[in-house]
Amino acid sequence: MHNFKVFLQLCSVNLKVLFTYRASFYISFVLNTVWVMSFLIFIEVLFTQIQTLAGLQKGQVLLIMSFYYLFQNIGDILYRENFESFSEQLRKGELDFALVKPASSRTLIFFHRMRFDFLASFLVTLLQCVYSISQLNTPVHPGFLIIGVLYSFVGAVLFFSILSIIATFTFWLIKNESLNSLIWNLSQVARYPRGIYLGIFGKFVTYLLPLALLANIPAEISLQFQENTLLAYFISITIFLLIFSKIFWDFGLKRYSSAA
């Protein structure tokens, strides 16, 4: 509860930053438009050649992509910038401000700087979602769509846990300046229908490092063809990785030495 209050306080501070630098809001809108358009063009080009991708039609693939952007948007707003700067902070011994405060160090470090200017990206994602729904052959029930959106938040929590585990390795690696590109690279797997991933790699990204589930589960719920066992696994692995990442973080923190 205490950490949640800290989280809300951080939200409040960062909202004030948004109103100080309003131009960032418009720049983020342009950035996300470019980002969404680039992969939209890719899918459109792809579907000029084929009818389905892993058994899914264009609208369904686009809906998966919409949920991918949604959990990415949540991450961009809440924690992405903090992961990108974490390595530098660690290297310079600048984590003290978080470690001496009576709150969860992980909350303070990874939610310190929130980017509410990326709220603009929700608009772009919404437009993408509307377009993908327009391409579907069967209508989507609004109730299931809302449940899908809620599961995107679960996906954001799962992705946060995965990133937290990777970032914790920085305590041993010291220099991990590529975290930004790592975040981008890992998330690419989540963008496409999970049915395309076959063999050992498919099992790996579905069960061991469940990146393939991040956007697929919310989309499958919205389209009402989710597998209940996989859904239960999705929730379970999210809870497990959230707890494990916290334990691993505390273990890694013991290696930290301040520069003060």
Partner: protein, 264 residues
């Protein structure tokens, strides 16, 4: 030249400082490549060719463009912008050396180490999955590719340097870098071969510098273009290097005049 060599050595040392980072970064960087390969694998279960591209050609295209990306991309803009904003550029301004030359040499050194670390992975991919790739290359094609890569390293760095120096003029540059990365990715043929686009759009894109990073070298690799087109492509790339060199020079002059450093 001696200075460039010294900065190159600094870059190598920087790159070797944290070796394990390079190794695990190499492993994680393969994820987008694998994702794309699985997408196209699925697509080619439904069709045999797409605009003349067979499955082996498409697989080869993605893996080799990824390797080219590892070679030519410097992404110096983040580091340059950070040094400008945090005042770390001061120490470079006080020294009798060109900041551009320093950054170029340093980044080349880091790139070399990254490439050396990544090459075994790509050799492994080609070795174990050779039936899915087209790996024949003659001497002429190899030399042309090498020439293109050398030019592309220079051009990519100039573009990165240009974006990095926007930190002299803008408070927020993070989003601008993201836009640049996505635009290059599409316009260079990083997402899909530009051959999949209409000829009119392709003709317009080939006036820009970006297709010469990935699409043009792959056209050379697959012998898909004539000698005249190859000469034209190299000429356009050289022209863009000249243009960007001039633009970067002007930006530096104007940026330095605006720059304020606070000393202790």
């Amino acid at each position: 030249m001696n200075k460039l060599k010294a900065y190159f050595n600094i870059g190598i040392q920087n790159g070797l400082q944290h070796r394990f980072q390079l190794f695990y970064w190499m492993l994680l960087n393969i994820f987008p490549v694998i994702a794309f390969l699985f997408v196209w694998w699925n697509v080619y279960e439904q069709v045999d060719t797409i605009q003349g591209y067979t499955l082996p050609m498409m697989m080869t295209y993605y893996v080799i463009t990824r390797l080219i990306n590892r070679t030519i991309s410097t992404y110096s803009e983040i580091e340059i912008a950070r040094e400008i904003k945090e005042g770390e550029i001061n120490k470079h301004l006080l020294k009798p050396m060109s900041y551009f030359t320093y950054k170029f040499g340093e980044r080349l050194g880091i790139r070399l180490i990254t490439l050396i670390i990544n090459i075994p992975l790509y050799i492994g991919i080609f070795f174990f999955f050779h039936q899915y790739f087209i790996l024949t290359i003659d001497l002429t094609t190899g030399l042309l590719l090498l020439a293109n890569i050398l030019l592309s390293i220079h051009l990519f760095f100039l573009i990165s340097y240009f974006f990095g120096m926007t930190a002299f003029f803008l408070t927020e540059t993070h989003a601008l870098f993201g836009i640049k990365d996505h635009l290059i990715s599409i316009l260079a043929g990083g997402l899909f071969p530009l051959q999949l686009l209409s000829p009119n759009i392709r003709d317009i894109l080939y006036i820009l510098p970006f297709p010469y990073f990935y699409s043009f070298p792959m056209d050379i690799y697959f012998h898909a273009i004539s000698n005249t087109t190859i000469i034209r492509g190299f000429s356009i790339e050289v022209i863009w290097i000249c243009i960007m060199t001039y633009v970067v020079h002007i930006m530096w002059e104007k940026g330095i005049r605006r720059y304020e450093a606070v000393g202790i």
